[in-house]
Amino acid sequence: MDNKRVVVTGLGIISPNSGIGKDSFSEAIFNGISGIKPISLFDTSAFKVHTAAEIQDFRAQEILGPQGLRVLDRSARLLCSATLLALQDAGVEIKEDNSRNIGLVAGNTLGSLKSICDFDKVAIKDGPQYVNPSLFPNTVINAQVSHACIRLNIKGFNATISTGFSASLDAINYALNFIKLGRKNIILAGGVEELCMETFLGFHKIGLLAGLKKGSVELSCPFDKRRNGIILGEGSCVLMLEDLESALERNAHIYAEIKGYGTCFEAYHPGQHNSSAAGLKEAMQSALKKAKIKPQEIDYICSGANSTVNLDAMEAKCIKEVFADSFNSLQVSSLKSMIGESFSASGALQVAAAVLAIERQMIPPTINYEEKDESCDLSYVTQARACRVNNAMVNAFGLGSGNSSLIISKFFN
């Protein structure tokens, strides 16, 4: 199973700091452009915080055409668009003769929440008789991936991975296994989440958002002493993963190779992390082992830190323990300083950033890092930095015990 090599041959990205496409994303992340702004999607006057990483210039009809969008919710539109962008970037056109050989798997956890609420609101306000049957499909968790497959004629398989913060890394692993088992040559894998009032309300109510506490800053500043919670985000990112032989055969551009994945679910607590950080540490070590890469060979960590007090400190602690002999020379940065926390989409966006870091041999910065915190005493990249990036690690983890880690390497044939 491990003989097959899996490479990245396409990137489809819609991100709050760059809008549409991988080129604008690349420009934005290496220039430290923030996508965090006052929210325009819904009224925030009843809330204590008012900003999020919202994609403000997203018009799906410009990517997908106008037909059939009426019954797609925002997250379905985001995923359909990112999937099409990945296919176009990879130069793959889906036709009848290849449609059964291509699959789509995406991480998604909260994406149907607004559709569920909207559907139920009509039932409560007007009566159950008057709910729109065409909007019911959006209320199920696999709606986004199914919509994308139907719209783009992807018949190989469709799957939704709903494991929260680590969902899109877990989706990439699902794709890796399919390709390594020889069941498919090409799989589109990624994640999606939409920003909506319902999700914002939930995170606001459980006290996870930055700026809720008196005197705290409403800012995404991972690892910084001022950090006090997340800035919620949204986005979609789909990578085309391909068996190396297939990629070489069609002379595809190869961005990077996926080398290893590790995961650990700690079954600890629904709303807390284990301060021993054993789960993330195990995920990171397992990914290194799978990739057959020594810790000192990792050049860059695209961190999952999201500006929460405990989780950022947990990752810093893990990095120090796993990279005991080499953490001083490691380059570490967190994309979430620019794009907020988009939950099941974050991991895929981080993977795209790591792939571009390898492609450009440059590290994207952690913006907003100003005040050092002793519990996160690593050296962070705060301005884009040109350097060797042969191997990168991406971490995804969160409250609720899930931890995943992925290793991406420069492609050498």
């Binding site: 106008p66 037909q67 059939g68 009426r70 008789q129 008057y130 729109n132 049957p133 065409s134």
Partner: protein, 87 residues
């Protein structure tokens, strides 16, 4: 009554993502205009909601043209008005 025909045409056009002018009174919704079963249900619910009437789902196959849909809407609207006028 002309208003009902115009309103139902607009509802059908919205569901089918077509210009209302494209929906001719006797065109077959499935064969000529691409209606599917989910969209047909959507039209039924939209008509019910618009006129606050209840059309039994057994009537769904009969909603096969604009003319037929308007006739059914009028039939159940008349029943509703009749019920309201009963002492």
């Amino acid at each position: 009554m002309q208003d009902i025909e115009s309103e139902v045409r607009n509802l059908i056009a919205e569901v089918l993502e077509k210009d209302p002018a494209e929906i001719k009174a006797d065109m077959r919704l499935v064969e000529d205009l691409g209606m599917d079963s989910l969209k047909a249900l959507e039209v039924l619910v939209a008509v019910e909601k618009k006129y606050k009437i209840t059309i039994p789902e057994e009537k769904l196959p009969a909603l096969n043209t604009l003319d037929a849909t308007v006739a059914i809407a009028k039939e159940f609207l008349a029943k509703k008005e009749n019920n309201l006028s009963q002492p």
